[in-house]
C-alpha cells in the first residue's frame, strides 16, 4: 500500500518530511519539559564558593558591645555580644572581697531575688556549679578553669553540647541585625536567664483575625 496516497495531492509534502517534522516536534516538547527551571536544591548544591559577606558595603557597625569568640565557626572567627555590662552588680568582687558587711545590708547584698530553676530534671544546680568559688568575677567549668562572663557559651556548652554545636553553626540562637558583614551572634545569656533558662509563659504580642 502506498502511504503517500493518504496525503492529499495538493499538499505537496512527502510522508518522510512529515515524519521528520513529528520527530522534531517530539524532541522539542520533551526537551522543554526536561528543561524546566532547575530546582533550587540543584543550585544550592552547585554553590560551593564562599560568599564574602564582609564585602556587603551597606553593613553598619553595631551599636552593641561585642567580643571575639574563643571558638571557631564554619567561617572561622566570629563575635558574640558582650555580657558583663548587663550584669547589675558586676564586678562581683566589689562585694565578694572578704571584708565584713553590716547585717542590716544583708537583704540588699545577698542574692535573694535569684531563684534557680535550672537542671530541675536532676537534682538542680547550685551557685558554685557555674560560678567560681574563690574568684567571683569569673565562672568556672568542670575542669576548674576560669571562664569570663562574656564567654559563657564555654560553660553552657559542657552540658548543652548539642545546642552549642547548633549555635556555632547557626541553627540555634541568632545573628545580630545583619545577615551580612562580620558574624555577630547573641550570647547564651542574652536570651536565656542562666538561673531559669526556660522562657516564661506569657501572652503573645498580638493576635490574628480569622483568615479570609
Amino acid at each position: 500500500m502506498n502511504i503517500s496516497a493518504w496525503f492529499p495531492r495538493w499538499l505537496h509534502v512527502s510522508p518522510l518530511s512529515v515524519a521528520g517534522l513529528l520527530i522534531v516536534c517530539f524532541f522539542t516538547c520533551v526537551g522543554n519539559s526536561i528543561a524546566v527551571e532547575e530546582s533550587v536544591l540543584t543550585r544550592i548544591g552547585q554553590a560551593t564558593n564562599p560568599y564574602d559577606t564582609t564585602a556587603v558595603e551597606s553593613v553598619q557597625p553595631l551599636l552593641q558591645e561585642t567580643v571575639v569568640a574563643k571558638e571557631k565557626d564554619q567561617r572561622g572567627a566570629f563575635r558574640v555580644l558582650a555580657r558583663k555590662k548587663f550584669i547589675e552588680r558586676y564586678p562581683c568582687s566589689s562585694c565578694h572581697n572578704g571584708k565584713p558587711v553590716l547585717a542590716r545590708n544583708g537583704e540588699a547584698l545577698t542574692h535573694g531575688t535569684v531563684i534557680i530553676r535550672h537542671g530541675m530534671e536532676g537534682n538542680g544546680l547550685t551557685c558554685i556549679d557555674c560560678h567560681h568559688q574563690d574568684e567571683r568575677n569569673y565562672l568556672e567549668n568542670k575542669k576548674g578553669e576560669k571562664i569570663d562572663f562574656d564567654h559563657s557559651y564555654l560553660l553552657c556548652g559542657q552540658c548543652h553540647f548539642r545546642q552549642k554545636r547548633d549555635w556555632l553553626g547557626g541553627a540555634h540562637g541568632k545573628r545580630v541585625t545583619y545577615w551580612a558583614g562580620e558574624r555577630v551572634v547573641y550570647n547564651c545569656t542574652t536570651c536565656h536567664n542562666p538561673h531559669a533558662p526556660r522562657f516564661e509563659k506569657r501572652f503573645p504580642a498580638t493576635y490574628s483575625p480569622p483568615a479570609e
Binding site: 524546566v36 527551571e37 530546582s39 533550587v40 536544591l41 543550585r43 544550592i44 554553590a47 560551593t48 564558593n49 564562599p50 560568599y51 559577606t53 556587603v56 551597606s58 553593613v59 564554619q74 567561617r75 548539642r162 547548633d166 553553626g169 547557626g170 541553627a171 540555634h172 540562637g173 541568632k174 545573628r175 541585625t177 545583619y178 545577615w179 551580612a180 558583614g181 547573641y186 536570651c191 522562657f199 509563659k201 506569657r202 501572652f203 503573645p204 504580642a205 498580638t206 493576635y207 490574628s208 483575625p209 480569622p210 483568615a211
Partner: protein, 322 residues
C-alpha cells in the same frame, strides 16, 4: 519641573466649537476636551482639581504613565522614586526614603523555621506589621502562627486564632508566610506580569502595575498573599519611612501585597524584621549560595522539610526540628 497648570486645565475644558465652525476645529476641540477629562478621571481628582496643587496633579499625571519596574532604566527608577517621595510629602507630610536597591550578585535568600523552638509569642507578626506598613484597620498580617498538636503537620488544621498564655504544654507552633517559591505559581497566574521573582529569589509585586484581579491569591497554595480592600490606614507616627519600591512602600487601594523578606532590609544586608524580632531564635535567614551561611548549616545538619513540596513549587522556606 512642570509648572502648575491650573489655568490650562480650565481653558481646555472651555474649548468648544468656536468661531470657525469647521469640522476640523470641532474635532480638535473635542479631542483636547476628551484628553483633559480622561486625565482628571484617571487621577481620580475631578471634583477637586482646582483645590489640588498643580504640582501634585502634575506628579500624579506623570506617575500614571510610568513603565513597569522591570522595564525602567535606573534614571527612570530614580525619577519615579523622587515623584513618590514628593507626593508623600505633599499628601501627608511624610519624609520617605524609597530605595530601588538592585539584587546582589551570588545571593539567593532562603529561610528556615525551627518548629521545635517556636513558642508562639508572635513577636514576629507584630514586628512585620510595623516594618512593612501593613493596614491596621483590617489587621493585615503576612505571617500567621498556628498552634498545633503533636503529629499535626498541616497548618490549615492548626489553630491560627489563639490568644492565651503561650507556650501551651504539648503543643507546638508553626508559622507560615510567603515562601518565595523558585517555581512560583502566583507569578504565572498574573495577567499583567505585575509579580515576578527577582534574581535574588524574592517574589515581588509592582504595586503600580497590579490590577487587583487576585488571580495570584487563588494560585498560591500557601495563602501567602494579601489584598488591600481599602486604603491602608497607618498612624502617621508609626509609618516606616525607610521603604523600597518593591517592598514596604504604602500600597494603594485594590492592590495585592505579600511578604518580601523585608526587601528594604535584606538588600541592605540586614535580617528581615521577623528574624530580628524573634525572641526564641526559631528563624534563620541567609544566603543559600554561601556554603558557610547559617541557612546552609541548617539544610546540611538538620531534619528539614518544605510545605507541600509535592506541588513542585520549590519554596525557599524550610521547616526544621532540633
Amino acid at each position: 519641573m512642570i509648572k502648575p497648570k491650573k489655568d490650562d486645565e480650565a481653558a481646555e475644558l472651555e474649548i468648544s466649537p468656536s468661531a470657525h465652525n469647521s469640522r476640523r476645529n470641532f474635532l480638535k476641540g473635542l479631542s483636547i476636551a476628551a484628553a483633559a477629562c480622561s486625565a482628571s478621571l484617571v487621577t481620580g481628582c475631578l471634583p477637586d482639581v482646582k483645590a489640588e496643587s498643580g504640582e501634585k496633579f502634575a506628579l500624579q499625571w506623570k506617575e500614571y504613565f510610568k513603565k513597569h519596574y522591570r522595564l525602567m532604566t535606573q534614571q527612570e527608577k530614580e525619577e519615579t522614586v523622587a515623584r513618590l517621595e514628593r507626593l508623600a510629602k505633599l499628601q501627608s507630610g511624610l519624609d520617605l526614603q524609597i530605595s530601588t536597591r538592585a539584587p546582589r550578585e551570588n545571593v539567593l535568600y532562603g529561610y528556615a523555621f525551627n518548629i521545635t523552638r517556636c513558642e508562639g509569642f508572635m513577636e514576629c507578626v507584630a514586628a512585620c506589621v510595623k516594618e512593612n506598613n501593613l493596614d491596621r484597620k483590617t489587621k493585615t498580617q503576612y505571617i500567621r502562627v498556628f498552634e498545633m498538636k503533636p503529629g499535626q503537620l498541616d497548618p490549615s488544621t492548626g489553630d491560627g486564632k489563639y490568644f492565651h498564655e503561650v507556650p501551651v504544654d504539648n503543643k507546638f507552633y508553626m508559622a507560615t508566610q510567603c515562601f518565595h517559591c523558585e517555581n512560583a505559581p502566583c507569578t504565572k497566574a498574573c495577567p499583567t506580569k505585575a509579580t515576578w521573582r527577582e534574581p535574588d529569589g524574592i517574589v515581588v509585586v509592582d504595586y503600580d502595575w497590579c490590577i487587583g484581579c487576585r488571580y495570584c491569591q487563588a494560585a498560591c497554595p500557601y495563602f501567602g498573599r494579601r489584598f488591600n480592600w481599602g486604603k491602608p490606614s497607618i498612624p502617621k507616627e508609626e509609618v516606616n519611612r525607610k521603604q523600597h519600591y518593591l517592598g514596604n512602600r504604602i500600597r494603594p487601594m485594590g492592590k495585592m501585597e505579600k511578604c518580601t523578606f523585608c526587601i528594604q532590609r535584606t538588600r541592605e544586608g540586614k535580617l528581615p524584621a521577623c528574624v530580628e524580632a524573634c525572641p526564641t531564635g526559631s528563624r534563620v535567614f541567609g544566603n543559600l549560595l554561601d556554603p558557610d551561611s547559617e541557612i546552609r548549616f541548617v539544610l546540611k545538619n538538620k531534619k528539614v522539610f518544605r510545605m507541600k513540596e509535592d506541588l513542585g513549587t520549590d519554596p525557599k522556606f524550610w521547616y526544621f526540628i532540633d
